[in-house]
Symmetry: C2
Subunit: 337 residues, 2 copies
């Protein structure tokens, strides 16, 4: 029996960080053998924030593929592709946009949140409003069954599910599987500065490819418990970024040491510096193999480009097939195929 | 030197009528040798009104091509194509949508008018709002210089011109010619019932392929001057549909007879029936060759289909080339081509 499919991906507006890892990347790695996995770079969508400097997107796309390879996705199994290389996806999206009400698109909570978060006011493009439709085409074009995403994408996915159901109903078929959502174990990862969300624009990130020295420096400068002045003050573990990272990035072999740190921290028997030094070691053990694989592929840009070309052509075949099926069912351009 | 290009077309929601003829079709015929002409069937866009019954669009598309051939467009010169056969057009539209503000799209007066005219309230699709963008892609994808349209499309064209200018600016090129608009000699043709606009849903049309008998019947039932009861009452020529049609569809050889009718009508010296009988003759002379060509092609569906296939493949080449140029300038997917 054919494997079920995963579609997920990144919008190439910057390098990926440890928040992306626990939000979605680790699920990609975990499931890559169980599912046929398509990893998309939504480069055209990146224009919705980078329309004035479009030429930087190509490099971000390349860097995002490096990040995905770095965390251990195997290019022999995984299809890496870019939106912009697959015109059929946009024709699918155009058809889908005829089945989504304008009001429904604007009610999308993720769209509303992004408008608020990015302070867009009423200055946003039509393409920005279209995004949930492009995302539906990303997913349905390859007929994905499962979509590992960050928690902020769940509302978009609901839109994709609605479109799949509506088009199945109008064509009286089961052309599209109704895609299931898989949310990562961490919805939002706290930033190094204690901000509830790690984000490039907030300057509170640890990137996947970052050097050992940079990571040590960022860890040693992390926000902890602002009420705690001296190492002998009782501290708070709950919500403390240092302990959150220890829990997320430590391995089983760190468990007893971390438990000991927590107990001593609450009792005021350990200083921040000692805990942070331990965390720096944890982060380095986590990041070293990622950095190593990243450097391996970074030194072989032609290999990476070929992976992207092959993947994009492969995804294009799938999208063209889906488009042909949908067009035939709708009786559009059947003589053109 | 290469000929300049025309792009124009129809949304396949029904057969074309004499209002379309004076609104745009006659300009297509007139200019077909001077310009390289691309005639589009916006079949995907037709989903914005026919989303519940999509399978009728294919037949409307075919009938619209028949109508265009019937008025004398030469398939040896003219490229007939369908939107849905050209995925590259939708990728162009997706890119363009990143450069058009959502507010600007909603301010489009044609969009506003259509919402009002069709009583859509706030029930319209995202695809409906996207339409001016798809139209821009229709035009700019083949780099058209001139767009013969009905007067209701002028606002859409302004949007296309803006997009062309914006993309030329962002790419620092003259990739897109700024398309000029050519409005037909009649903005809106009065219906047979005196309604200022002829329209399928109003039941006040004369279709291009209609039989002699049907046309005679419609002409004899036309609205004239409601204040005039008897043939001896002085009548009004101005705004009288019968005289409007005589002026539009009569030839030079009708000029003196029409002038005579007008003079006698104003003086109450001619009955409606006599004028209508004359108009029936005028309409038949106008429609007979159109009907004949229509029947010729209608009897050869395979020939028509081949015209559409060849044209769609030709338009697809042009769109793919434009997309490749734009993608390269924006540095999107350059390694995929």
């Amino acid at each position: 029996m054919a494997k079920k499919r995963i579609l997920t991906g990144d919008t190439p507006t910057g390098k990926l960080h440890i928040g992306h890892y626990v939000g979605t990347l680790e699920n990609r790695v975990k499931l890559q053998n169980e599912y046929e996995t398509f990893i998309l770079s939504a480069d055209t969508h990146a224009l919705s924030t980078l329309s004035k400097t479009p030429t930087v997107i190509g490099e971000h796309t390349f860097q995002n593929v490096l990040d995905n390879l770095a965390v251990g996705l195997d290019p022999k199994n995984v299809v890496f592709w870019t939106e912009s290389g697959v015109p059929e996806l946009y024709e699918l999206a155009a058809i889908m946009s005829m089945y989504v009400s304008h009001n429904r698109a604007l009610r999308n909570p993720t769209v509303k949140d992004e408008i608020k978060m990015k302070g867009l006011g009423d200055h946003f493009s039509l393409g920005f409003v279209n995004y949930p439709i492009f995302q539906a085409a990303d997913i349905l074009g390859v007929k994905a069954h499962l979509v590992p995403v960050g928690v902020d994408q769940v509302a978009h996915l609901e839109q994709s599910r609605e479109i799949a159901r509506d088009l199945n109903a109008i064509t009286e078929t089961e052309l599209f599987p109704i895609p299931e959502v898989l949310v990562g174990r961490v919805g939002k990862l706290v930033g190094t500065d204690g901000n509830p969300k790690m984000g490039k624009s907030l300057g509170n990130t640890i990137y996947l490819g970052e050097s050992k020295e940079e990571v040590q420096k960022k860890v040693m400068g992390m926000y902890t418990d602002p009420m705690r002045i001296r190492a002998t003050d009782p501290g708070t573990v709950e919500g403390n970024p240092v302990f959150i990272y220890l829990d997320l990035f430590g391995t089983d072999s760190d468990a007893s040491a971390v438990a000991d740190f927590k107990a001593r921290y609450v009792e005021g028997k350990v200083g921040d510096i000692e805990v942070k030094q331990y965390l720096a070691g944890v982060m380095e053990r986590f990041l070293a193999p990622i950095r190593e694989r990243r450097e391996y592929f970074e030194a072989r840009p032609d290999v990476v480009r070929q992976i992207m070309i092959d993947g994009t052509l492969r995804a294009r075949e799938e999208n063209a097939l889906t488009l042909k099926e949908l067009r035939t069912l709708l009786n559009l351009s059947v003589f053109v195929g």
